[in-house]
């Protein structure tokens, strides 16, 4: 393992070269023990790079460094190991090593990536949560990036359902970013893993995030884009997913909604369209819906609402609406309206997203 750890820490060569070197020398140990002449003779690295690798070997204390690493209680899996996710192996530029906290997905686990904007609308967040929940219930693992907004909601959906969820980070796995996701971070470790190809202690930098996006799509069978602006990281992930030959599905939105511009654009370009959760699942299993999951969650009709309450309820939308607007649409007096709104909140049919703004949940 210590040789592999050294191999993972080597800089100056890319993941593809590392793989070739390992094939040539028969493992990380072989690479470590090879001398400079053998290295140059392999024809895989140029002279200066070979010298550079030798220098790193001299500066690296094999035992000490590995022991120090073990103290962190961070899992470590290389492309040579069986625990390495098989689907990830197939992508171009697959990382040589993965650091993780928690447990890596099992060989039989099917993963679905869910990505989207950090600053998402209430609709996007609700949908992300519900879709993740339903997919979890159907036995799929949810992969995302632990960012704010859609990513966080997707993880939460899976966790609340008791399913598995995996987060790829743009920093070391022992760095919690964003800070206010520390609780989510711990929950993900309990219900799956946080994974990164960056060495521990790496601090997040903007350029790291697109790099990890290829892993999110790479490890997953399908990539769902929930909400994305026109130029956004989520679209990068979608592009990468397509390059990797994975299916991309996008959640459609209203054309006037900036948060759905990106996803609508994906659909126009030929990405799959999320019409309902059971449709995704049917697609995955080729068996038709395993169980009919109601994307709409709870139904208004199970509560025997009064006529007024139904009227008010029908004025709410999946996009947040102010009390003012609802009042104009339903034409009721303000005071009784507020009473009904609070009752609907209480029943869990609508939710307050901001001061006096509500979205419907069912």
């Amino acid at each position: 393992m210590k040789y592999k750890y050294w191999m993972a820490a080597v800089t100056g060569i890319g993941n593809a070269t590392k793989r070739k070197l390992i094939e040539y020398f028969g493992g990380a140990r072989g690479v470590y023990e090879a001398d400079i002449i053998a290295m140059i003779q392999s024809g895989l690295v140029k002279e200066d790079i070979a010298e550079y690798i030798m220098r790193q070997k001299e500066l690296w204390s094999l035992e000490d460094e590995y022991e120090k690493f073990l103290e962190n209680e961070i899992g470590f899996s290389t492309i040579e190991d069986r625990s390495y996710p098989s689907l990830l192996r197939t992508i171009h530029n697959a990382p040589y090593a993965l650091y993780y906290k928690g447990t890596l997905p099992g060989a039989k686990e099917t993963l679905i990536a869910m990505v989207g904007a950090r600053k998402a609308s209430a609709y996007g967040k609700t949908m992300a949560y519900e879709i993740a929940k339903a997919l979890s219930r159907a036995g799929y693992g949810i992969v995302s990036g632990m960012a704010l907004g859609i990513d966080g909601e997707s993880h939460r959906g899976a966790i609340d359902q008791g399913g598995r969820t995996y987060a790829f980070l743009g920093c070391g796995v022992d760095v919690i970013y964003p800070r206010n996701h520390d609780k989510l971070y711990r929950q993900i470790i309990e219900n799956g893993a946080v994974i990164s190809d960056f060495a521990p202690h790496t601090t997040p930098l903007p350029e790291y995030f697109p790099v990890r996006n290829r892993l999110i799509s790479g490890i997953s069978k399908k990539t769902l884009v929930i909400e994305a602006r026109k130029k956004s990281g989520s679209l990068i992930t979608a592009d990468l997913a397509m390059e990797q030959g994975r299916d991309v599905l996008a959640l459609p939105g209203r054309i006037s909604d900036v948060m759905s511009e990106g996803t609508n654009q994906l659909i126009a370009q030929g990405a799959g369209i999320i019409t309902g959760i059971d449709a995704i699942i049917a697609d995955l299993t080729d068996l038709g819906g395993l169980e009919n999951i109601d994307a709409k969650g709870c139904s208004a009709y199970q509560f025997n609402l009064e006529k007024d309450e139904l009227l008010v309820y029908s004025c709410f939308d999946f996009y947040s609406k102010g009390l003012e607007q609802v009042q104009m649409e339903c034409g009721m007096e303000l005071v009784p309206l507020m009473s009904i709104v609070i009752r609907l909140c209480e029943l869990g049919l609508i939710r307050e997203t901001f001061r006096n703004r509500y979205i419907r949940l069912g």
Partner: protein, 509 residues
């Protein structure tokens, strides 16, 4: 040879009578003043000497000692010139009226003997009245406010000679005409001019009916400031005690202008957000009341709440709790009443458009930082919080059937009369001032309502912190509808106005 006369110093918004005594004795000719004097009082010596000379009263070639007693209180203000001059004249025998002990006077002297107006005349005359003095002599320009004190003879004088004349011969100088108070009140903002914004209007009504603190959140141009400016038009009238207290504050800070009556409108103060802590709370070299005191009994409107300096905003917490401020300086401690209704307006984020994601350009961290400028303890003190949404075109266009302030005020007054009845015999004035220990007594919930509240707690993740605030607001809403009991619909409505708990707030992002 000895002369004595009464004058007064202002301390806080109250006044204390001080004796100005003069002794003329043989010795080297000096003019000395003692009695713990501030620098402006020390300067009185030069003004008095010159003014007396210029009025034809030559100072005797004697040792002149002036004492302002009690000597343990710091004397400040420019009102001592006249009493010092008169006490010297009495000691000189120029003023023949032997008993000046019933006379209280105040005024600043010019070098030519003219008398200039001073601040704080109203509390001085009140203090004189409390000490059963018979006569007050005040500068001509201060006659207005001095004459508001009942049962007190007030003489307005405009120069030193006139004063001497009056004291010797009882020839009353002509009193200035009292300012004709015309009841036509200046055109003020009216709720009739606010289109749409039904939630905002209703929240304003509830807030005024119980004097609850209020926060508006909304994008720029949604009418937050305008709504706040309409508040005075629906506020209840002040009683005489309140009027007197407010007038004293304005008199002390030199803001009591010609009006011919006490301050009878509840004040509306809207300081700019660059205000300093001393400006808001009170302070300065010569301690003067701050905006919180000037808004006493009325509305303190803080527009762009997040732009206020953090320490300035936090300094508000204590007066909001205690309903008065105590400013402690080296020269002493001063207490001013500061029972105001806080109304604040803010944008939801830096660019102002959140949660409209198509226009808002802020990142989540930006929004958190922006909202983070308001501390939780501050939010805890706000009872009502409403969104002022962006107006649609049809809202702006519709000018019809907006309820006018007059109609709203009627309901507010009805609610207040119920409160007056309820709190008779206690020192509680409004629902918002119900102390926590009396909540159970005044905001009683029936078993059905209690159960409903419990359900709301679970469903909306309310915190215990908000519980009392909710009940106070619910009480006001019940008062507005004339109900003696708080009912479910009142609870539901007040929950709509609840102030977001910080944690809850951030979850919305």
């Amino acid at each position: 040879m000895y002369g004595v006369v009464s004058c007064a110093i202002v301390h806080g918004i109250d006044s204390l009578l001080v004796r100005a005594e003069t002794d003329l004795s043989s010795g080297l000719p000096v003019f000395e003043m003692v009695g713990f004097l501030g620098s402006e009082v020390k300067e009185a010596r030069e003004r008095v000497r010159t003014a007396m000379n210029n009025c034809g009263y030559n100072l005797p070639i004697k040792r002149i000692t002036v004492n302002l007693s009690p000597a343990n209180i710091k004397k400040s203000g420019s009102g001592f010139d006249l009493p010092v001059a008169v006490s010297i004249l009495a000691a000189m025998g120029v003023i023949t009226k032997s008993d000046l002990s019933d006379v209280v006077m105040a005024g600043e002297l010019g070098l030519d003997g003219r008398i200039y107006p001073i601040n704080g005349v109203l509390p001085m005359v009140l203090a004189a009245s409390d000490c059963s003095k018979k006569l007050c002599i005040v500068p001509y320009e201060n006659y207005e406010e001095a004459s508001l004190v009942p049962d007190m003879k007030v003489i307005a004088v405009s120069d030193l000679k006139e004063t001497v004349e009056y004291l010797n011969n009882e020839t009353e100088p002509k009193a200035p005409d009292l300012f004709e108070s015309n009841d036509i009140k200046a055109e003020e903002a009216d709720f009739r001019h606010i289109s749409g914004q039904k939630v905002l209007r209703r929240a304003c009504e509830v807030a005024c009916a119980g004097l609850h603190n209020m926060l508006f959140i909304g994008p720029p141009g949604s009418g937050k400031t305008m709504a706040a400016k309409c508040l005075p038009s629906i506020l209840p009238p002040m009683n005489v005690d309140e009027q007197m207290e407010l007038s004293k504050i304005y008199s002390v800070s030199g803001k009591f202008e010609e009006r011919g009556h006490l301050m009878d409108r509840r004040p509306f103060r809207s300081p700019h957000h660059s205000i300093s802590q001393a400006g808001l709370i009170g302070g300065g070299v010569n301690v003067t009341p701050g905006e919180v005191s000037l808004a006493h009994g009325g509305v303190l409107f803080l527009d762009e709440l997040t732009e206020f300096r953090h320490d300035t905003m936090e300094a508000l917490r204590q007066p909001m709790e205690d309903k008065r401020v105590t400013v402690v300086r080296a020269s002493g401690s001063y207490t001013y009443p500061a029972s105001f209704m806080l109304v604040a307006a803010m944008n939801p984020c830096k660019c102002g458009y959140f949660p409209d994601l198509s226009r808002c350009t802020c990142t989540r961290a930006d929004i958190e930082r922006y909202l983070g400028r308001i501390s939780q303890p501050m939010l805890d003190r706000i009872d009502i919080c409403v969104e002022a949404p962006r107006l649609s075109f049809s809202d702006i266009r519709s000018t019809t059937d907006n309820e006018s302030s007059k109609d709203i005020r009627k309901r507010v007054l009805k609610a207040l009369s119920l409160q007056k009845e309820r709190f008779a015999g206690t020192d509680i004035a409004f629902n918002s001032r119900i102390p926590a220990k009396d909540i159970e007594k005044y905001c009683y919930l029936g078993p059905k309502e209690e159960k409903h509240m419990e359900e709301l707690y679970g469903a909306l993740s309310l915190t215990a912190r908000t519980y009392h605030k909710l009940l106070r607001v619910a009480r006001t809403i019940a008062d507005l509808s004339g109900d003696s009991r708080i009912r479910i619909e009142h609870l539901n409505e007040c929950v709509c106005y609840r102030c977001i708990d910080k944690g809850e707030w951030e979850k919305c992002l």
